[in-house]
């Protein structure tokens, strides 16, 4: 059995005072301190990050972490665009499956605000195919295409999408570490400027800095002695074409479906058992598609179901989604998101979620996507 | 006999009206229109250049005939707004058209007569047996300094001509060229906008060289203006071609169809050739067409063309095609021309 025994996250936001590795250091030291661990007790580190190569000209981050913590153990970096964090976690869990008695760290981090929006948008386009980049399709453009198809096929409007942002901003107001802490209205969303039609600024997750880290172990004794312990029931990765045009259906993310099916099978539980979930809402449409593709909602019904706001904290729904504020309000420092999502489920299951604590949750799910759906990671945790 | 096998033209979709420009600079629009005889001009989009326009006109020319592209061994690209100062656009064009690789290519420059000069050289190469066909393009995204008269006239467009020796729509019966060193209009390397000598561009330049070239050709061929159904001259504005035609002895009826400058502006190396496009829409078998292109710096190439009955099967609609247009305002014009 594999366990998560600790979680620390920096604030997400425009963290001008901190460089990428300042953030990495803060998260690593933070999680070690919380668990009363010395860096010498760590057997391996897994690091998820997307843009350090493109924006910072750093492609040996693993060695940089060794320098920071003054350790010599194996350190690995994963690359999967926005799913880098989730994939790092998956690789860490697989490492635990293969190596007994390990205490390991998984950290995701991203520094995005040192650069102009154009440079960052260009950097994020690295998640898209060369042809998509050449056609001037930004990352938002790809999700905008999916939104357009979805809206047209199921006869929804931009208003349906806006409910996602409103819900997640409300959650963000309950999360001290979130990038955005203010609530917004449907009108606010509909009146915000377009980024790529029909997606507007308030349909889109922001450019944020941040780092999040978790401690994993497969040592039963250590796990039992920790104040907070959660069991990793499943972590599955699935991939698909990098090009949106290569997918079988352009308005669904098949990789999500495949990863979810594998994860639920492994965990031996059903969709109804999940009480709290962190899904990948890089854009409002993405949360709707995620709910459908993960199997929580029927295909095509997402636009209607989101309006019920049953997944919003405080509405007594059976499944509360994105209590952290999601990517939209908590922020989306790309490589950190996958870990933050898992960390949020950890907080919920161990009753540490304070103002946004969902009651009586036994199982939680985290869903992390790379690019327009080229990679998906689904993780199921239980207590 | 060498001549035109097929032809193609391309005019960008956008137009800006003379009055829109005049109003920006506080000039009386009617005065400007009256003095230049230009109501509007073409503007190429921000992502168009002489090469992309040449591809359109050349594709059109090649679509009219079933030519084995490996037999097109001459590709010449005439422009004043070449995409590069050093790098042949002729090979970029040829490659996109699927012409490869045993061919001669080069880019030509002689202000507005870069393409007609190339026509003359190419027909010589065909006559010598080097190639069965030659593809010649005149293509420009004409620049004019803001608040200058060129702003009203400099336009965008492209014309492509496929020369050959069989199955011609128009024979090139004869030609002549007249050259001198006359600095009426020029552009230094690295400088964005051309400069010109004002009124000096008239009598000692445009008129002197067209006159010299035309009269030389009349003498050589024994022909005179009355023998021609149509006459086409380079059109830097709407007045000069009318004046030079008249001074040579052509009637207004002979040149009226060619005066595309009135509603398209002056597309530099494509200017006279665009006038030819308008005329070919109307010309009949056996018609003689007089074509004289002028290039600043300066020189003039004149041609006697005779229309064959093949024009009928390859004739292209011109007047209707150019009606597909969209008017833009001044800031959009500046954006498309990358002035801002």
């Amino acid at each position: 059995m594999n366990y998560i025994t600790g979680y620390y996250t920096t604030r997400f936001g425009e963290l001008w005072d901190k460089s990428l590795f300042d953030l990495v250091e803060e998260a690593l030291r933070g999680v070690l301190k919380q668990n009363n661990l010395e860096s010498s007790q760590i057997d391996a580190v897994f690091f998820g990050n997307m843009l350090a190569g493109v924006l910072e000209n750093n492609l040996h981050s693993t060695s940089k972490i060794a320098e920071i913590l003054k350790i010599n153990v194996p350190i690995f970096r994963s690359e999967a665009a926005c799913a880098s964090g989730g994939v790092a976690f998956n690789l860490a869990k697989t490492y635990l499956d293969a190596n007994p008695n390990q205490n390991i760290l998984v950290i995701g981090a991203e520094k995005m605000t040192d650069y102009s929006p154009e440079e960052t948008i260009t950097g994020l386009s690295a998640a898209a195919s060369g042809e998509e980049q050449e056609a001037g399709l930004t990352f938002s453009g790809l999700y905008a295409m999916m939104a357009n198809l979805y809206i047209e096929k199921y006869h929804y409007t931009e208003e349906n999408l806006a409910y996602v942002s409103v819900k997640n901003h409300y959650h963000g107001s309950l999360n001290e570490k979130a990038h955005f802490r203010r609530k917004i209205s449907i009108e606010n969303v509909l009146q915000s400027p377009y980024v790529a039609y029909p997606l507007k600024v308030l349909d889109s997750s922001p450019i944020s800095d941040g780092a999040s880290a978790v401690v994993l172990t497969n040592n039963q004794d250590i796990a039992k002695k920790q104040k907070h312990t959660v069991t990793i029931l499943a972590s599955e990765v699935a991939t698909d074409t990098i090009s949106l045009k290569g997918r079988k259906n352009l308005e669904e993310i098949l990789a999500t479906k495949n990863a979810a099916d594998k994860a639920f099978k492994k965990a031996k539980i059903n969709r109804e058992d999940i009480g709290v979930a962190e899904v990948h809402d890089c854009f409002s449409i993405a949360e709707i598609l995620a709910m459908e593709n993960l199997g929580f909602w029927k295909k095509g019904q997402g636009g209607e179901r989101i309006k019920e706001l049953s997944t919003m904290y405080g509405n007594n729904g059976d499944l509360i989604v994105n209590t952290s504020g999601g990517l939209k309000a908590a922020g989306h420092p790309v490589g950190a998101t996958g870990i933050k999502q898992i960390g949020e489920i950890f907080l919920q299951l161990t009753k540490q979620a304070e103002k946004r604590q969902v009651r009586n949750v036994k199982y939680g799910l985290a869903h992390n996507v790379g690019g327009s759906g080229g990679t998906a990671v689904v993780t199921i945790l239980g207590i | 006999m060498v001549g035109i096998v097929s032809y193609g033209f391309y005019v960008p979709k956008y137009r800006i009206k003379t009055e829109v420009i005049a109003n920006v600079w506080g000039k009386n629009p009617e005065d400007v229109k009256k003095s230049l005889l230009i109501a509007e001009k073409t503007v190429a989009g921000i992502d168009e250049d002489s090469l992309t326009m040449a591809f359109e006109s050349a594709s059109s020319a090649l679509s009219s005939v079933d030519v084995d592209r490996s037999k097109i061994k001459i590709v010449l690209f005439g422009s004043e707004t070449h995409p590069y100062a050093v790098n042949p656009a002729s090979t970029i064009l040829a490659e996109f058209l699927g012409i490869e690789k045993n061919y001669l290519a080069y880019d030509t420059e002689f202000a507005c007569k870069a393409a007609t000069g190339a026509l003359i050289s190419a027909q010589g190469l065909i006559k010598s047996g080097y190639s069965d066909f030659a593809l010649i393009t005149g293509s420009d995204k004409g620049m004019g300094k803001t608040h200058d008269v060129l702003e009203y006239t400099a336009a965008s467009g492209s014309v492509s001509i496929l020369l050959g020796k069989d199955d011609l729509i128009s024979e090139i019966l004869d030609f002549e060229s007249f050259s001198s060193d006359t600095p009426d209009f020029w552009r230094r390397e690295g400088i964005r906008y051309p400069s010109h000598g004002g009124r000096f561009t008239g009598k000692p330049s445009y008129f002197y060289h067209i006159d010299g070239s035309s009269k030389s050709l009349f003498k050589k061929t024994g022909l005179s203006p009355k023998d021609f159904a149509f006459a086409v001259f380079h059109m830097p504005n709407g007045k000069f071609p009318i004046q030079v035609a008249s001074s040579l002895g052509f009637s207004s009826a002979q040149i009226k169809d060619s005066l595309v400058v009135n509603y398209l502006g002056n597309s530099y190396t494509a200017s006279a050739l665009m006038g030819l496009m308008a005329v070919l829409e109307k010309a009949k078998t056996g018609d003689l067409i007089f074509l004289c292109a002028y290039g600043s710096g300066a020189g003039a190439d004149s041609f006697v063309l005779r229309v064959t009955r093949n024009l009928e099967k390859r004739r292209k609609e011109f007047v209707k095609a150019i009606k597909d247009k969209k008017y833009i305002n001044y800031p959009t014009y500046l954006k498309y021309m990358e002035i801002i």
Partner: protein, 99 residues
């Protein structure tokens, strides 16, 4: 500066898809663009299915807003596709215009 070799390799592929007709499968309009495309913004991008079933992305140009719809017939044309530096090789590529 974009690699001239990448442009050269790409142009060989572009040649094959010029002058082809197709239908718009999905479209969007980009308002916030990356560095290379900033000066063209806002611009529509379409995913087109050509007559031979091949799918191609490209900007839509010379359009009216009413042309932005799923199913619209378009044709592929040659245009400059991204703004390189003043010194770099010019990148020509495929865009679409409505039929």
């Amino acid at each position: 500066m974009i690699s001239p070799i990448k442009i050269w390799r790409r142009q060989k592929e572009i040649r094959k898809i010029l002058g082809k007709k197709g239908k718009v499968l999905v479209w969007t309009k980009i308002y916030m663009a990356g560095s290379d495309f900033k000066k063209y913004a806002p611009y529509p991008v379409v995913l087109v299915e050509l007559e031979n079933k091949e799918k191609i992305y490209g900007q839509l140009v010379d359009y009216r807003d009413t042309d932005l719809k799923i199913g619209k017939e378009v044709i592929s044309i040659l245009r400059k596709v991204r703004s390189s530096t003043d010194e770099g090789v010019i990148a020509y590529g495929v865009k679409f215009k409505p039929l």
